[in-house]
């Protein structure tokens, strides 16, 4: 069920709200950037994500084919969300579940996780994923 969640980076410069369904799949990936940041996104279509503050506080990072926009807060370095422009689901926002406020540990622990093999450009589970 879609529900509106509020979220923020650590220092509070970046705040957002997103309509998410936490009974649907979230993602963990083994690619070079997700491995380092342990990015754990729930996905939202662009119309279901609203940046409430901090546009000017964000740094954008792109690499390789430069199709994914990786944003982080200039002050605390936290990555609240990213934008995939050509995902299997089209343009999507990846919202860092760790940045949601008012969600309990128990709720987070129940969010289903799909592991994907970004290291090999595959949207399938990688051979090893327990560390993700």
């Amino acid at each position: 069920m879609l529900k509106t969640y509020n979220g923020r980076c650590h220092c509070g410069a970046v705040t957002f709200e997103a309509e998410l369904d936490l009974t649907q799949q979230s993602y963990r990936c083994n690619c070079s950037i997700c491995r380092r940041t342990r990015f754990w996104p729930a996905v939202a279509t662009p119309d279901r994500f609203r940046l409430l503050s901090g546009q000017s506080e964000l740094t954008e990072y792109r690499f390789n084919r430069r199709k994914n926009l990786h944003f982080f807060c200039k002050t605390c370095g936290v990555r609240s969300f990213g934008v995939g422009t050509e995902t299997p689901m089209g343009k999507m926002y990846g919202v860092n579940l760790g940045c949601l406020v008012g969600v309990t540990e128990e709720e987070l622990s129940r969010v289903p996780v799909t592991y994907v093999d970004g290291m090999h450009d595959r949207f399938e589970p990688p051979e090893h994923f327990s560390h993700l």
Binding site: C9, H10, C11, S32, I33, R35, R36, T37, R38, F39, W40, T59, Y61, F63, H70, F71, F72, K74, T75, C76, G77, V78, R79, S80, N96, G98, C99, E105, H128, F129, S130, H131
Partner: protein, 115 residues
């Protein structure tokens, strides 16, 4: 053993000396956002191969831990602090270390949120 690590873009690279026998995962307000797997070592065992000022610094609460991150790619390779005895320590995010099998490193979960 000597380990090499880096942020994603390469602005921060480092070497760490020690025996990597385990790491800590924490659920506090910053760790749950950063998702780091931390390996605590004496600060002297961390050798930055790039200038110290290549990393940005974030502190909060008691401002005793320096959370260092790359201003270009946003990756958090290490933090710096002091242990209860006053020794300079570093917390290495082992997700930034190359050529290790991460899933084989035992992880201890720390309830930092409860502090």
């Amino acid at each position: 053993m000597l380990y090499n690590g880096s942020c994603h873009c390469g602005r921060i690279t480092f070497q760490v000396e020690g025996e990597l026998s385990g790491a800590v995962s924490c659920n506090c307000s910053i760790c749950q956002r950063k998702g780091a797997l931390m390996w605590f070592i004496p600060r002297q065992n961390l050798q930055l191969l790039t200038p110290d000022e290549n990393a940005s610094t974030y502190t909060f609460s008691k401002h005793v831990v320096k959370h260092r991150f790359c201003p270009t790619c946003g990756v958090h390779p290490y933090g710096e602090g002091v242990d209860p005895k006053g020794n300079a320590m570093a917390a290495i995010n082992i997700r930034c270390i190359e050529d290790i099998e991460l899933e084989k490193i035992p992880v201890t979960h720390f309830d930092g949120r409860a502090l």
